[in-house]
Amino acid sequence: MRSWTIRVLTSVISFTVIFAVWQCASTLRWVNPVLLPPPSAIAPVAAALLVTGEFWGPLVQTLWLLAVGYAVACVSGVLVGLLVGRSERAYCLLEPLIEAIRPLPKPALVPIFFLFLGPGSAMKITMVSLAAFFPVLINTMQGVRGVDRVLLDTARTLGLSSFSLTSKIILPAALPLILSGMRVSLGLGLVLVILAEMLEADSGVGFQILDLQRSFQVKEMYSWIFVLAVAGVSLNSAFEWVEKRLTPWHSR
């Protein structure tokens, strides 16, 4: 309990310092206050955004696209990771292809997918899936290949079916790594959905941020960035909670 209190207190103090420096920087014109208004000027605008509930519509839109793309990426990443991790043949066949595509910065592919898929949800979901797929795939692959041989031999001795072997031994053993990959994917997916919305959308948080920048409504723009930051932190915390529940044995 004490360590939790200390952690919260440290966070509060560090945020306070950051905001204080920002306030000074803006008010004392170390930076151009038109481009970076002080927190005191942004706060009322952000409060209005939150209180009126205006932020819900675009946020739900963005999170929905993220959720669909993320789910597709996780399921396909785990399935392909299992295949490639278990089968040496599949590994030899697919690993070079994976290593070729993985390093490509996915944001750079947005214009290409826009050409093929046009504007709309399909393009955004595809981009999120593509970006989120690889960390899950790689981590699943590594997790599966790294399962303790003793466990596998024991399972074989006990006559476990292939399905039982996968679901009862391999997946639980690989779960910490898989979840770690999924957490990275969550962050990447959020980046891609916002980027896709900025480049091609008429709704959603990414669109709002860019549109407000285009009409120079800087305070409103920062308010939306704040909403995005809170959403990101919340998603991360929720994931951590789920992770702790699913892998209680895994010390962090």
Binding site: P119, E200, Q213, R214, S215, F216
Partner: protein
């Protein structure tokens, strides 16, 4: 003899040093660098012509040009100090003024000419048969940036021709890519400008459905060059030099549009082939700014809910540019 020579040489040395120093000073003072953004369309040709003909050099200015997508995209860079002067449009500049971005218009850029063959246009696919704003409801129109002049006039045209602008989707597509976006059915209409308005209609599958500028505000001032009020106050003479040299470029291009060197420059700036450039109608560029047109556009913006109230135009425009 020897002592005379020795007496002379320090003097000679000093004079030589002063001459060289003066030459360096004059040379350094002669070349004020100005970082300018431009739209890679016909709008930028007078500036490049002025660079080619040495008009900027005569005034003692060196232009370092960077392309941009439009005023709405470039103004933040201007405010952040990445550029000194940016090519913007009346709408983006007025919006910025309202939000506290202090800008000053220092040179005219483009203006609609209702008497000439239209050089801008709202283009659609011929097969779709879209003719009015009402037809566009539920569909999309490409504009270079949202909240810019193209966007405002597209909206105003939709409203004027019986449509509800809130039911039309406005997508951002850079001018050079608009034709492809229309052909690939990524958008249903494009409001584009010279030279792309003409080059896109060459094959017949794309038609000009409307001329929003002429239909909404025929003599509208559209584009101009702006700088920050801060920069203007500190470097007024430099911006006036830019304006003077640019004006000469405008005069030259207006008088020699069909000349081979102008045609070649248009091709270089817009990346269109010389064959297509040869078929383009002339776009006459303005030499000065027309504040009365700004006032009309401002009224359109207030009507569209873009501006809360009028902006003081006299403090926004360099008086030297209104003559």
């Amino acid at each position: 003899m020897k002592c005379y020579a020795r007496a002379l040489s320090p003097g000679l040395r000093m004079m030589a040093g002063m001459a060289i120093g003066a030459w360096f000073c004059a040379h350094a003072a002669a070349q004020t660098p100005l970082r300018v953004t431009y739209l890679p369309t016909l709008d930028a040709v007078p500036m490049f012509m002025a660079m080619e003909k040495g008009y900027f050099k005569e005034e003692g200015v060196v232009v370092q040009a960077t392309p941009s997508q439009g005023g709405a995209a470039a103004i933040p860079g201007l405010m952040g100090g990445a550029y000194d002067i940016t090519f913007s449009n009346v709408v983006s500049t007025l919006l910025a003024q309202q939000q506290g971005f202090k800008l000053r218009v220092i040179a005219a850029g483009t203006k609609n000419d209702p008497s000439a063959k239209p050089v801008t246009g709202l283009l659609t696919r011929k097969a779709d048969g879209i003719k009015s704003g009402k037809d566009f409801e539920g569909k999309s129109i490409a504009v270079n940036t949202r909240n810019g002049v193209i966007w405002l006039f597209a909206r105003s045209w939709v409203k004027k021709t019986g449509g509800d602008p809130s039911k039309v989707m406005f997508k951002e597509v850079p001018f050079p890519q608009m034709g492809d976006a229309l052909r690939n059915k990524q958008v249903d209409g494009i409001f584009t400008i010279s030279p792309f308005a003409d080059s896109a209609t060459k094959e017949g599958d794309v038609v000009r459905a409307a001329d929003p500028y002429t239909e909404v505000q025929p003599t509208a001032d559209i584009g101009h060059f702006v700088t920050t009020e801060d920069f203007f106050q500190k470097n007024q003479e430099a911006t006036r030099k830019f304006g003077r040299a640019l004006r000469k470029g405008v005069q030259y291009v207006n008088a020699n549009f069909k000349a081979p060197e102008t045609q070649l420059l248009i091709s270089t700036v817009t990346k269109l082939t010389p064959e297509i450039v040869a078929t383009l109608p002339q776009m006459v560029m303005p030499e000065r700014v027309y504040p009365e047109e700004y006032a009309k556009t401002m009224a359109l913006m207030v009507d569209a809910g873009l501006l809360r109230s009028g902006v003081d135009l006299s403090s926004m425009i360099d008086p030297a540019q209104t003559k």
